[in-house]
């Protein structure tokens, strides 16, 4: 494997690792907190919101937005590390 290919596959591995972590959070806040664990979370109340309901109609969406911007930052750094930025 050439130097160039090695670099590319190392970059790809790190990229996929980021995706796994971010998508795990994506799954937890929506399918987890908003659906599967909704009922138990609903016993906790923050202000007028039951927590599970809040995740389903508000919280998950905020986390989605944050996730994409975290991804943008991580990838920009990764691009720089491997010299793929332009």
């Amino acid at each position: 494997m050439s130097e160039k290919q090695k670099k590319a596959s190392a970059y790809w591995k790190e990229n996929v690792r980021y995706l796994f972590i971010l998508l795990a959070i994506w799954f937890l806040v929506s399918f987890g907190a908003g659906i599967l664990f909704k009922e138990s979370l609903d016993t906790i109340k923050i202000g007028g919101f039951k927590l599970g309901f809040w995740f389903a109609q508000q919280g998950s969406i905020y986390v989605f937005v944050i996730l994409i911007f975290v991804y943008v930052r991580l990838m920009n750094k990764l691009d720089k590390k491997y010299g793929y930025d332009e």
């Binding site: 996929v16 995706l19 039951k50 309901f53 989605f64 937005v65 991804y71």
Partner: protein
């Protein structure tokens, strides 16, 4: 000034603005026409994507649906925003690096097969046509309610406007009008929401007002109040749904994956300069969409509470003017079943006397809350902006599928750029006329087919694209059989349980307790499994295709989008 005068002024001004932008940004080449020249800034693309995505359904219907569905309505909120995470992380950057004009371009090249390209074109056309018919209908409805013109005249006015800037400007014209349309629609959605939030809870931020205490000095939380009112009338608690956990899970997943697989959304990411911009632009798009999507559930709560307080057990003769106005449109109806002159709005169908259309909740909300005339007119302009921007984006996908994917790539490869541009314009014109026809004569199955469109996108495009990027060895045999199995399975399930074909069936017969709306997630999984199994028995893709895959994984050197 009356509501009607304000509506004429605001709608007239916004239309003049869209036409002005269209003339300023007309397309000179196919590249301008398909991908706006490839030089759109991430912010402009984010705004355009947001306007493209938020249709008449998001603007007019969603808050109303949630009003009546309560927690069950969360599937739309999570489904239609969570898909952007998949889009940003799994699709957009790589498709931008790939650097072609359309989704079938990717499928056709990655799977080195004309069959794959044609399957993709057919899916893109089905998805886009069903959507666009709904949008034209939305335009007609807004016109008829606020400007008292006939629905059909409304559709025709809408057709002319869209025709003008989609045909003249292509993606370039559409992108910049969508930027303007985003501003109009978000302003129109937020102003009434903020007013009502202050009225009901004293908190100017609707997202917080939803969880705050009522303004009436009782110290009760708004959501507790609504839960109480709902159970009193025999409905489910607002914050608890009636659908099963499995079904909620499946529908949310199908909508998320369907969103990520919709061609008119994906194609927007071909318009930015670099891979880096595609990622950032997806984040901005979701941020701009989230403003509306986190406000909508608050609007639902305000509107539902307001409605129950205004009508429940009140004398019919004491109803405010808006009640009578909306009765005339047929979207609200009252039948005094027990002849007591009062309105009984209850869960028990035999006793319930009030029928309410979902759409009223957003459209009549400003009137119910007694807001000034210009705010009511603003909602009309916003609804039109939402419907027109989505219609234009879809028309572009249709015209590109025909002129680029079929005419240039399949039938007439040596067509000149100029001729292709004219074919694209012709295809867009024909598409507008067909969409207008369906807007005027809506087939009864529109609603069912829109849900099918999400299922189709989830069952076909999403797995094929994801495997194309993340599974280098995936070959054409695997991808094509996966797509075909996914689509056929989805079509079978939808027609069986929606139209009663193949023996029909009731909700008790649903597979795994999953409704047709949620079945896209099962069909998607079937697509993945079939593709991977077929791959084991068929030859590897050629090395040059594997090199394409290696190349799209690296962000640098994206260059400009090309059609060659």
């Amino acid at each position: 000034m009356t509501v009607q005068t304000w509506t004429y002024i605001l709608v007239g001004l916004t239309f003049a603005l869209y036409i002005g932008i269209a003339i300023w940004s007309r397309a000179g080449s196919t590249k301008d026409f398909y991908v706006a020249g490839g030089g759109v800034s991430p912010l402009a693309n984010g705004m355009a994507t947001a306007a493209d995505w938020m249709s008449a359904a998001s603007f007019i219907s969603m808050a109303g649906i949630i009003s009546f569905a309560g927690y069950d309505g969360s599937v739309y909120l999570m489904g239609w925003t969570g898909g952007y995470v998949l889009l940003a992380l799994l699709l957009a950057p790589y498709l931008r690096k790939f650097g072609k004009f359309t989704v079938p371009d990717f499928i056709g090249d990655r799977y080195y097969s004309k069959t794959a390209r044609i399957v993709a074109v057919i899916c893109a056309l089905i998805v886009s046509f069903t959507y666009v018919a709904g949008q034209m209908r939305g335009v007609g409805v807004v016109f008829s309610r606020f400007l008292q013109v006939d629905i059909n005249t409304g559709v025709i006015i809408g057709m002319i406007i869209v025709l003008f800037y989609a045909v003249l400007g292509g993606m370039k014209g559409i992108t910049y009008t969508q930027v303007a349309q985003y501003c109009v629609l978000i302003f129109a959605f937020m102003v009434p929401a903020i007013f009502i939030s202050i009225q009901m809870t004293g908190n100017p931020i609707p997202q917080l007002g939803m969880g705050a205490t009522l303004n009436d000095g009782s110290g009760t939380f708004l959501l507790d109040k609504l839960d109480g009112l709902s159970t009193e009338l025999g409905f489910n608690e607002y914050t608890n749904g009636s659908k099963s956990v499995t079904d909620i899970f499946a529908i949310t997943l199908a909508l998320m994956v369907g969103t990520a697989g919709l061609p008119h959304v994906i194609v927007r990411f071909f318009t930015v300069k670099k891979v880096k911009d595609a990622r950032k632009s997806a984040g901005l798009a979701l941020l701009l969409i989230a403003i509306l999507y986190t406000t909508a559930p608050a609007v639902s709560v305000f509107a539902k509470t307001n409605l129950i307080n205004t009508v429940s057990n009140e004398e019919y003769s004491n109803m405010p003017v808006w009640f009578k106005n909306w009765e005339e449109t047929g979207l609200l109806s009252f039948e005094d079943k027990n002849d007591d002159g009062k309105i009984q709005y209850v869960a028990d169908i035999s006793k319930n006397e009030l029928t309410i259309d979902n759409d009223i909740m957003v459209l009549a909300n400003p009137e119910i809350a007694d807001l000034p005339a210009w705010v009511i007119a603003l909602v009309a302009a916003g609804g039109l902006a939402a419907a027109l921007s989505t219609a234009a984006g879809l028309l572009l996908v249709i015209s590109a599928s025909v002129s680029h994917d079929l005419v240039k790539k399949v039938f007439k490869p040596n067509i000149s750029d100029k001729a292709e541009l004219w074919v694209a314009r012709g295809a867009a014109t024909v598409a507008v006329v067909i969409a207008g026809y369906f807007g005027i004569n809506p087939p009864g199955f529109v609603a069912a087919v829109v849900a099918l469109a999400f299922g189709l996108a989830a069952a076909s495009f999403f797995p094929a694209i994801v495997l194309g990027i993340f599974y280098k060895k995936m070959n054409k045999e695997g991808a094509i059989s996966g797509m075909v199995v996914g689509i056929v399975l989805m079509l079978f399930y939808m027609t069986k349980f929606k139209f009663g074909w193949f023996g029909g069936g009731t909700p008790e017969d649903w597979w795994f307790g999953i409704s047709p709306e949620g079945f896209g997630s099962i069909a998607m999984i079937a697509n993945f499994i079939v593709a991977i199994i077929v791959l084991q028995f068929t030859p590897e893709p050629p090395t040059d295709v594997q090199e394409i895959v290696e190349n799209i994984r690296i962000p640098s050197g994206a260059g400009e989008a090309t059609g060659h």
